[in-house]
């Protein structure tokens, strides 16, 4: 059996026949190709295929979910029976749940592309990665480099008893590079990636040699840089880092499941001021430049959700359950990594809207501070219950006399997100939203693709730990 709306509808009918009051059926086929050259040697040419079916049922107010990777009639029948059994198992000791009754989406979304990256001659792709790895290794001071090409085709079908009949196919390609430089006893690494939503033609139209060479040069400079003195700084934050910071430290706290469980610092704060006046934040499934999510894995349309407007918390991100429990609109944010997982509330493209300032204005008036850069940031972690965050970020610059000064390495920042957003002094007009075909957002053991970004912003205070 293959992935199709017809198969989804057939399984939906079988689930309803077996006693489900409501049901959502998901089918997915994802192929991910990854070519990795490590310091001149092909380390991996791998292809990952994920195929499967998941079915969620509501039986007398109790929810059960089951999946199977085997798409035989028998296995699908067993999955439906298991979902119903699990729902019934909760009826004795569990709690009934309510789900928002949202009309299911009828949608067909396909990435436009000219050349399917999975059909390009394997030797052509391997040669490109090898050549770029050679460029990265060719910069003096570089001791190792890893260059990767990622290509992904992700097809999803969602059919539900609320009328959803949706199909999407997202095609993404990208190249990443990690360069490690050594200077005396100091080893420093710098990594970066660029992803296009589209076909292999996007790979052909970009100057990748300059891209990887720049990464290696920055690694060499960073290995010779000092670490910043730890302490509190006034900081200019670039597009990438503000995106990462918002996604991790604020975005997760806006996720309705955490709010329902009172595990979010934003619980019960709708209508309250949670950020400075200049801050407006949205989650937009089809944001320009981002990772496209036309509908969620419950079959609800994903549109732009205004989460914070001029500093005031306006809404949470929700699935149908959080929408019902919290009394806010269903925002179409139920997402799952694949069919072996039940969808949970996730961000799509979560970013701050641009302001009016020029980027240069953000530096003016900063006599001593730091310019925090997202490039090569390793990521961050947050405790959404209290809003504490920490990020390991890329090579950055001290700011002296209103201008970026010397490079610093090994920078970590931490703070409380609400304090940090209250401390936003200026927002620039240079919006940037980017996706990644190499990683994504992790929550409860699931990884989903997201887009993130924003404009440059300036905050009056952030804690910097050197390293």
């Amino acid at each position: 059996m293959s992935l199709s709306l017809d198969l989804g509808k057939e399984v939906l009918g079988r689930a309803l026949d077996r006693g489900a009051d409501e049901a959502v059926v998901r089918l997915q086929e994802r192929v991910y190709e990854l070519i990795v050259f490590d310091s001149g040697v092909l380390r991996s040419y791998s292809v990952l295929r994920v195929v499967g079916l998941g079915v969620e049922v509501l039986v007398s107010g109790f929810v059960g979910y089951a999946y199977t990777s085997t798409l035989s009639r028998e296995s699908i029948g067993q999955a439906i029976d298991k979902a119903v059994k699990l729902a019934k198992a909760l009826s004795a000791r569990g709690r009934e749940v309510g789900l928002a009754r949202v009309e299911g989406v009828k949608a067909l979304y396909r990435t436009r592309y000219a050349q399917n990256p999975l059909e390009v001659d394997p030797s052509e792709k391997a040669s490109l990665v090898r050549d770029l790895n050679t460029v990265a290794m060719g910069v003096g001071g570089i001791v190792s480099a890893v260059t990767r090409l990622g290509c992904e085709v992700d097809k999803r079908v969602v059919v539900s008893s609320l009328g959803a009949e949706a199909f999407s196919e997202v095609v993404a390609v990208g190249i990443s590079n990690l360069s490690v430089a050594r200077f005396g006893e100091v080893m420093e690494r710098v990594s970066d990636q660029k992803t296009f939503i589209g076909g292999y033609e996007s790979i052909k139209s970009f100057d990748w040699s300059s891209f990887v060479e720049d990464i290696s040069k920055l690694a060499v400079k960073a290995s010779q840089a000092k670490t910043p003195p730890p302490g509190a700084y006034r900081a200019v934050i670039d597009n990438e880092l503000i995106g990462l910071l918002l996604h991790e430290a604020f975005g997760h706290a806006t996720e309705g499941d955490l709010v329902m469980y009172r595990a979010s610092v934003l619980c019960g704060r709708l209508g309250e001021r949670v950020a400075g006046d200049l801050v407006t934040i949205v989650d937009d499934g089809l944001a320009k430049g981002g990772y496209p999510v036309a509908f969620d894995d419950e079959g609800v349309a994903k549109r732009r959700t205004v989460v914070v407007e001029s500093g005031v918390l306006k809404s949470y991100l929700t699935n149908r359950r959080a929408s019902h429990e919290l009394g806010v609109e269903a925002s179409g944010n139920a997402r799952a990594q694949d069919t072996t997982f039940k969808p949970i509330v996730r961000q799509t493209n979560f970013f701050m809207l641009p302001g009016d300032a020029r980027v240069e204005e953000l530096f003016e008036g900063v006599s001593e501070g730091i310019y925090l850069r997202g490039r090569s940031a390793m990521g961050g972690q947050v405790d959404p219950a209290v809003g504490t965050f920490t990020f390991s970020i890329g090579p950055s610059y001290m700011v002296r006399g209103g201008e970026p000064a010397e490079l610093v390495r090994g920078v970590a920042v931490s703070g409380n997100i609400l304090e940090t957003l209250m401390n936003v002094e200026l927002v620039a007009k240079d919006l940037l939203v980017i996706p990644s075909v190499f990683g994504g957002c992790g929550k409860d053991g699931q990884v989903v693709r997201v887009g993130f970004g924003g404009p440059h912003v300036r905050v009056s205070k952030i804690i910097v730990g050197g390293g």
Binding site: V41, L42, S44, Y45, S46, V47, L48, R49, V50, V51, G52, G54, V63, G64, Y65, A66, Y67, S69, T70, L71, S72, A79, L86, A89, L90, R93, G94, R95, V97, P122, S123, A126, V143, S144, V180, M187, R189, P230, G231, M260, Y261, R262, A263, T340, K342, M378, G379, Q381, D383, A385, T388, F389, T390, S392, A412, S414, V464, G465, G466, G467
Partner: protein, 448 residues
Amino acid sequence: MVDVLTLVERGVRRAEALGATEAEVYAVREGSLTVMGSVRGVEGAEGGESVSVYIRVAVGKRLSVQGGLVSGVGDVDTIAESAVKIARASPEDPNWASLPKRLGSTPTFDLVDSAVKSLEPERFVELVKRSLEIPKELDKRAFASEASVRASVVVKAIGNSHQPPVSCEQTVFDFGVEVKAVEDGFESGFYSYYVAPTLREFRLEKEVEYATRVAVETLRAKRVGTGVYQVLLMPRVFSSVLGALLVPAVRADMVQKKRSPLVGRLYSQVLSEQLTIVDDGAVPNMPGSTPFDDEGVATKRKVVFDRGVLRTYLYDTYTANIDNRESTGNAKRMGASNTYPDATNILVLPGTSSLDSLVRDMNRGIVVHGTIGEWLSNPVSGYLNATVTHGFLVEGGEVKQAVKGVVIAGDAYKLLKEGLAALSKEAEAIVNYIVPAVLLSGVSVAGE
């Protein structure tokens, strides 16, 4: 039901028939059950079964790995065909020697639990329900915001062109609870977790009580001033630091690619003489235990640091061949990837001081129960960065206040050598680590 041994044998034969000079097939069947609860009660249950197959082929020195979830036996043929096709189109890997020539199984104990294996929901529903009730019973300021149990049973088999397949069955029980505390506008939360193959040593009350105690006692946590402090890392935090900084540095692939500060440090004094660290893939009832690694090589026990002296790196077959050594049975794989060496279970031999006496002897220090971001530390440079989310300031041996939001930082190798003051005699099992608490001196703390 698909038999994983059949998949392995079929895949190896098919790849060889298509022209692979070597082929290896790794097949896994996994069944799972997850029960979730929140402050509102037990609300969800999910389960299912999946079969995954990964095929690694060599055509001479040209390699490819393919695989993923399979929907039927015939998918194995498709994967084998694609793997051979791509291997032929790939450039040679000059470092490639061969797949493992010897597969085997180390005797293991307590890796299967019949209650976990049953995947029957009733017992786990009850367990989640109880974990939601306990915090309120212990302290009226506390409640469990989330709790979950995941039970899974894994049957895996691996074989290659040189050896018939080996196979085994294991279970995993995974419990987590998030406890929040609220009082007078102050809030705190703490997540406690437990992972093991069996329920034998699981004590629900202990896990929930610990989370409740830390959440309540850190209600009024605040920053302390920037400075240099003694820091006592409790076992959970110490295991995270080791996982973020030390384990990546002893991986042979990282060393060979010069992405480890331990390049050329074999047989030298890297850490304090107080630290002996063992990697052991066959500890009873530990989730990192398995009879064989992810390429079928029998797991082993090896001393990685002997009283601070680096004795070995961790190898899979590929990296072992480069260094002309034997694999240490540490091959791992992440989806359709080549194998890489990684830790199985990490054991740190405990010290002689009790935790209480370590705290009593602190002049000015922070006892750290929880951090975030330690995994973002830089294993290439060995530099530690972690934000304390749950800590206590100790002055003159007495707890003065709860601490949060400060960054601890420093060169981990200096801290674990010159800076290591003591290890506690109490050790704790935390997922695939068994470690004591560690008292470090001269730690840079960025706060107010």
